[in-house]
Symmetry: C2
Subunit: 317 residues, 2 copies
């Protein structure tokens, strides 16, 4: 008897072709149960072509060939020891980047906004007051997120292109008595670098924690999270680190960690809950438990971004 | 005068070397302001080595060379037309995967849990009752997320390894009158495939929407979201699609979309808010606006995962 080879489209349950030795007989042996959208989109049958672009606007930077190559390394499981070793290296790179010894130093499995959201939903409880320093898009975005999370978000405002001085920040702290102050280190919409020295100490005099968005700054300008008493700082992978967006470093001071541990209400997000993330990222003595499947390739690439940061020197003359 | 080349470590403000023509003079001209954690971690100076592993456990699957190569293509901006074209192809791939015409079909910029969280925080408002069908880890996880989001999460339970029949689901709907029912299509912790035919129709009789987690199933078994009246379905990129984790397809029916649009309270998460994501993913007639920086490489890879799905035939005999 002649051997048949049957080609089967697995998702749909449809047998497409029965191949005899000499010829292909094209018929279906199972009636399609599929709705009228069953046809495969033709655009997906064409190859994907990505042009080379020089990226110097908002959004990601160009990634170096070394980082791109790292994104194409073989997949590992999210709890394989070879992968958790890379997570440890990314953690060390993050500590170096932020100049901190913070125990709670991890990556959020998402892009920069995800890290902002992680900061908000871990550090704020419903009804608490937070103060956002608004001199561009990011202060507004933070206030929006904080309100969605049930907090009262007050603002102090300056025109785009200007930064806040210590006196203006102190007036805000006196007026609103927030539990958390938000500052944008590199305000990309106004092209400013916010001076951070002295702000943490000032906040702590008012029993307020300091949260810093350094997505567009970290790695590009001096940054000393411990010396500057920053309680939570995050960045993206896709700016100075030149890695693809997808895993976002974040670090909490001891005061920041304590605020999360003493919450009366659960963190509103499971995905961003630092009680779990700190375990998955090996910040605690307990063995790592499954929390979620981390973005494996994004972590590889970010590791190479940190590796370049550590090696990096720039010729300035 | 002899020209000098000065090597500068940008983040720290330290000048490392001044290179004359004949020799390297190693000295610092700026005193380090850095704290005691200033030294770069030595582990990041070593090359990263990733072994080949056969992945058949929980977590990601192996990615094909074609998908890995796509992860290493040049970076594009998150609103470049070349990138939004790829987003459109991923959207079409998602519609094909789920067999749906749903307008609100997008990817969440995170791994599978992020898509679950997006479903929860868009479809549930505080105080609403949801019913989770628990026959393993995922039903429990969903109930946890729903409670964190302020909803009342009831459960019906079966031992791991068993699935729910229509009668059991109807008893749950009658008892709890939920606004949203959660079912796990492929319950990886119990190795079951939940039959879904008839569940949507049943839910709609009780004015309840149907939410399906198909992270471990979509693409591997027949799935007809429109015919089965599923109101929200999501999956991960890292299972049957064999792409890296990092971007997670999700789709809302017209009823699901209407529920989100008629919310009395804002979606608790800015990052996962479908009002914004549907615009960023070009589901609406308005021009796309910046919402967040999408995970560019994860979307490239997912596009190739869909491309393979569209081409895929399996020889079964």
């Amino acid at each position: 008897m002649e051997k048949l080879r049957i080609l089967f489209r697995p998702r749909t349950g449809i047998v497409l072709n029965v191949l005899c030795k000499q010829k292909t007989c094209r018929f279906r042996i199972a009636k399609s149960k599929m709705s009228s959208v069953s046809n495969p989109p033709q655009s997906l049958l064409k190859p994907m072509v990505i042009p080379q672009k020089l990226l110097m606007g908002p959004g990601p930077s160009n990634s170096s060939p070394r980082i791109l190559s790292a994104s194409a390394l073989p997949m590992l499981g999210h709890l394989h020891p070879e992968f958790t070793k890379i997570m440890d290296e990314v953690k060390e790179g993050t500590r170096y980047l932020f100049q901190t010894r913070n125990n709670w130093t991890v990556c959020v499995s998402g892009t920069g906004h995800a890290a902002m959201e992680a900061a908000v939903c871990n550090l704020l409880e419903p009804g608490e007051t937070t103060l956002s320093c608004v001199n561009g898009l990011w202060g507004e975005r933070y206030a929006d997120m904080a309100r969605r999370n049930g907090a009262i978000a007050e603002t102090i405002n300056k025109p785009m292109g200007q930064v806040f001085n210590l006196q203006e920040i102190e007036e805000g702290l006196q007026k609103y008595r927030p539990v958390l102050l938000f500052l944008t280190h590199g305000e990309s919409s106004g092209s400013t670098v916010q001076p951070l020295e002295g702000v943490g100490k000032l906040c702590h005099r008012y029993k307020c924690l300091l949260l810093v968005d350094s997505v567009a700054a970290a790695g590009g300008v001096p940054l000393y999270a411990d010396d500057w008493e920053i309680d939570c700082i995050y960045t993206g992978s896709q700016k100075v680190l030149s890695a693809p967006p997808g895993a976002s470093p974040i670090s909490f001071s001891e005061k920041g960690k304590e605020k999360v541990l003493k919450r009366k209400t659960p963190v509103r997000s499971f995905y961003f809950d630092m009680n779990h993330l700190s375990n998955y990222w090996g910040c605690e003595e307990n063995p790592r438990r499954y929390h979620h499947t981390g973005p494996i390739m994004s972590v590889y690439a970010l590791r190479e971004g940190f590796s370049r940061l550590v090696e990096d020197v720039i010729i300035i003359s």
